[in-house]
Symmetry: C2
Subunit: 228 residues, 2 copies
């Protein structure tokens, strides 16, 4: 049975990879920067994204979001209060998002009219690492309350990421967060990766994060084919 | 492909369920109480279990633990400092424990010489809910820093649990933990489930938890067949 499982899983991932490559092509053609946010449940993805969307909307950037959860549309409603277009993807038991569901939930949105698309994945530090969603940037979030050892214990997720956002820095004191150990462990798995130390509550590190988004967006637009 | 996946998954779960039923039978025959601890990464399973093992060992209870992680044996080493026998199960990328691996890692242990076996699952609030490990009691841990909405967003895990342990109560203030909302949400998914509010740092709620363990153990021994 194990061989059949491995084969079938490979087939699923290959199909997903193909769809994701197609999506990435569409995103690049549209000059759209797409970020896939992954983390444990409760790391503060939604609060971080809510802050980001509010700020981008206020600055007249055109940002949208897809948000994945097993159940409930609480997060989509919360994020929509930013004024950005937001859609919920309910996986009904599935532990990750797939490129196919992203594609379906983009129907009716004009990608060329957007600058940023954020995909908030299901809270899970294991399974989403295997599923490319066509994003240009994968961001893994790690809250100060989770423990500095998480990069070593969940290496695939950290190894496949392009940036790490440490969240809830306002709780670093009460949580006795060991910043040096966390940075050391992240670098052990993914040397030189960009790390942001943030708090969506106090705004710490958020301007640096916005600067990064703008830089990456410029980089993405450089690949954009000239419009007719 | 979807039909084949559903079928294959059903096959895997059926095989796991059979093995788990066999394990549960062995555990009951040995008069052993087995608990499966599940939670998000970073909820404090290891700190909670370390406290529990130390206390049980000090009281001459015979407790042992299996601990699941994708990589590293940090947790097994940490737990072994309690004096209890501990074995690490590395899943190398798999997002949950299965009955087969539990069975393999019990080899050489005399189950009749133990009172309690704790299985610390991989940190994941989705996938482990589908895999019975033969435990008599499934305990889901939820830290005060994760947000009170988690039971609603991960209903399968909370619905399949026998007890909920709220961890890191010492951080309830800084995290602005809304106890009433958490209890309400837990009860919405699993009405009447036993809830412990604990801190492995301050010891809050831990005596009540130990009392529960002793009660459950007595209940389990009542089923134990008379020894020859």
């Amino acid at each position: 049975m194990k061989t059949r499982i491995v084969e079938l899983r490979r087939g699923i991932l290959e199909k997903n990879d193909k769809l994701a490559a197609g999506l990435r092509n569409r995103f690049s053609t549209a000059g759209l920067l797409v970020l896939n946010l992954v983390s444990s449940p409760g790391s503060g993805k939604t609060a971080f994204l809510e802050w980001t969307l509010r700020k981008l909307v206020r600055e007249d950037a055109r940002a949208a979001a897809l948000v994945g959860d097993l159940e409930t549309d609480n997060d989509a409603r919360r994020l929509a209060s930013s004024g950005a277009p937001v859609r919920q993807i309910n996986t009904h038991g599935e532990c990750h998002l797939e490129a196919e569901w992203v594609s379906k939930h983009l129907e009716g949105w004009e990608l060329g009219a957007l600058d940023y698309l954020f995909i908030e994945n299901v809270g899970n530090l294991v399974c989403p690492s295997n599923y490319d969603l066509g994003e240009q940037i994968r961001v893994v979030l790690l809250s100060v309350s989770e423990g500095e050892d998480k990069p070593l214990k969940y290496p695939t997720m950290f190894n496949s990421a392009d940036a790490v956002v440490i969240t809830k820095m306002d709780l670093a004191g009460p949580c006795e967060f060991d910043r040096e150990a966390a940075v050391k462990n992240i670098n052990e798995i993914r040397p030189g990766i960009r790390i942001f130390e943030t708090s969506a509550k106090t705004g710490t590190g958020m301007e640096e994060w916005l600067g990064y988004l703008a830089e990456q967006r410029v980089g993405e637009r450089a690949h954009e084919p000239a419009r007719q």
